[in-house]
Amino acid sequence: MISGMTSTSCIGRGLEQTLAALHGRRSGLAPCAFRDMVVDTWVGEVAGVDDEKMDADLRDFNCRNNRLAQLALSQDGFADAVEAAVARWGRRRVGVFLGTSTAGMLRTEWAFRHRDADNGQLPTEFVYAGTHSPYSLTDFVRRKLGLAGPAVAVSSACSSSAKVFAAAQRMVDCGLVDAAVVGGVDSLCATILYGFESLGLLAKEACRPFSGDRAGISIGEAAAFMLVERVTGPQDREAVYLLGAGESSDAYHMSSPHPEGLGARLAMERALASAGLGPEHIDYINLHGTGTVANDAAEAIAIANVFGTATACSSTKGATGHTLGAAGALEATICVLAVQNGFMPSSPYTGPRDQTLEINYISQNQGGAISTVLSNSFGFGGSNCSLIFGRPI
């Protein structure tokens, strides 16, 4: 059961702003003006991240990624929800499962620019464990929330913070935790911006997923968290649950998707099987939908193979940008908002329809009773994860 949730991205701090932006089809993307980086692209930068002050005992964790995590944790009463879970289950029975692809890489880039001129050492203020380590985010959040249960970082590129839901659910199922803080945080850095530029994958304007003239991705940053708890007693008809998760590997190429979307298809089929649902039960699909020609084409083939051409689909990356290791959790929160508010968000920029993609990509926001939704997250290395959220079945 989802008993707490928050997200912060370029479209808003917390759920209220996020929902308002989605309702208004507003994008948070803008021409890149991040630090001194010169890249001809648009990005989704979160305002005010650097105003966050770290607690004195958590200073070793001071980097943009952890400041963004802290900013998000202070929204939507999330920390209070976690404290209530601690009261129910005990500090040692609440786990932390967080995804990130680059952790505090921006801080490492800074450290390399400030090496000692004589001996080449990195500056003494640079703390590897607190900022560079993939586990730094999990460690920070676990300390910030005062938790003492099992904890892990998942770093599988752009599927990271989708896969944490599967990992957390397994830990609940096998009895090692009763509740889990699940989520993901990724923040802008030079490695990502220049790296994606080197692959020729960055759009020069805001990304236009699934449009006929799509031309690449827009990078964003985000932090999103959910509190997942063991279900005891009768199901709450008003609550939203993690109903299923499916994972697969493409076994194809490090940075290109399987052209027929075979891995994506397996992930969706496994998610449906784990939820005990058929494709006809899914009301809306939040696509991975990055906006590159190859990714969207492969995903469309996979969707058509599993669901046919009728199920409503959209990508929200035109609003938030591709938030990489945070995308799975960010889009999971959007999926839960869709169920809670009975609406399916379209993209801010839909562009001309790509007639070769045979799926029902919605060009306008749509309302209605939505009880079950699926979210896709696919990453480099062919790492795929699909999640299903919804009302109890």
Binding site: F112, L122, V152, A153, A166, C174, T191, A251, M254, R270
Partner: protein, 269 residues
């Protein structure tokens, strides 16, 4: 917690080239002599991937294949868990050094190899495995975190799971802030049911709160004990020693700060 069974092991580290060699060292039949880790890249990696894959990837694939071969399991079959304290140190160093020098032209191959799940990606490409593959990290406790993930995956899927934990050294200057002396990689092929004559050992996570506040006893061979503390993935060595010696009892593994993971280990005869 349901017990799991170890059916294949691969290991590679400084002065330790295979599980067969490691058994002799861990049973104190031969003295352990630290050396350099020597890679023998698996033949089955396609030529293009062989050119692109880094030494850390090669080491992980090598032990993964060895564990599958020992268990008689096709490498494409098991679900997998890849645990590692850090990503590829050579690539991270190269990218950060170039960026600091104002060179913004990152090599596309280096960029896609920089992801923490590069090993998982190459494993899939080399073996054709399309099964779920987890990629986890927990600093010095990454092996224990990987084992927890592998056990929970095994209980959930009820198909064999391959756990690979590996770490590699950083070049300077990162080596000064994260001193890891060399490559160490270990793989365990785990199953949910025992196979008489094939299963080596039974591992059970000790209860619902399987954690201790204090570390276990140091390994009796001081040089092996040093190795187990020097490289995060080598924190598995007390467990490997227990399996090699066919001991029955509890093993305490490094996990999170002031929180050690307790395992009940017993041989399968």
């Amino acid at each position: 917690m349901h017990p799991v069974y170890v059916e294949g092991i691969g290991v590679l580290g400084p002065g330790m080239e295979s599980w067969q060699e490691a058994v002799c060292l861990l049973k104190s039949e031969h003295a352990y002599r630290p050396g350099k880790t020597i890679l023998s890249p698996p033949e089955s990696l396609p030529p293009a991937e062989r050119r692109r894959a880094s030494r850390g990837v090669m080491a992980a694939l090598q032990v993964g294949y060895a564990a599958c071969a020992m268990a008689g399991v096709l490498p494409a079959e098991p679900a997998s868990v890849f645990a590692s304290s850090g990503g590829d140190g050579d690539i991270c160093n190269a990218i950060c050094s170039a960026l600091a020098a104002g060179d913004h032209l990152i090599s596309p191959t280096q960029f896609h190899n920089s992801v923490h799940n590069a090993i998982s990606g190459y494993w899939g490409i080399a073996t054709g495995a399309m099964a779920p593959s987890s990629v986890v990290s927990a600093y010095d406790g990454s092996f224990a975190a990987g084992l927890l993930e592998a056990v929970s995956l095994l209980v959930s899927l009820r198909t064999p799971v391959l756990l690979v934990a590996s770490d590699q050294d950083y070049p300077f200057p990162l080596s000064a802030v994260r001193p890891v002396p060399d490559i160490f990689a270990v793989a365990l092929l785990l199953t949910v049911t025992p196979h008489p004559g094939k299963s080596l050992a039974q591992i059970r996570i000790a209860g619902d709160l399987p954690f201790a506040e204090l570390p276990g006893q140091a390994m009796s061979d001081l040089q092996l004990d040093d190795l187990s503390r020097a490289i995060p993935a080598a924190r598995c060595l007390p467990l490997l020693q227990s399996i090699a010696r066919q001991d029955t009892g509890n093993i305490v593994l490094a996990y999170l700060p002031s929180q050690y993971l307790v395992l009940e280990v017993a041989p399968c005869r």
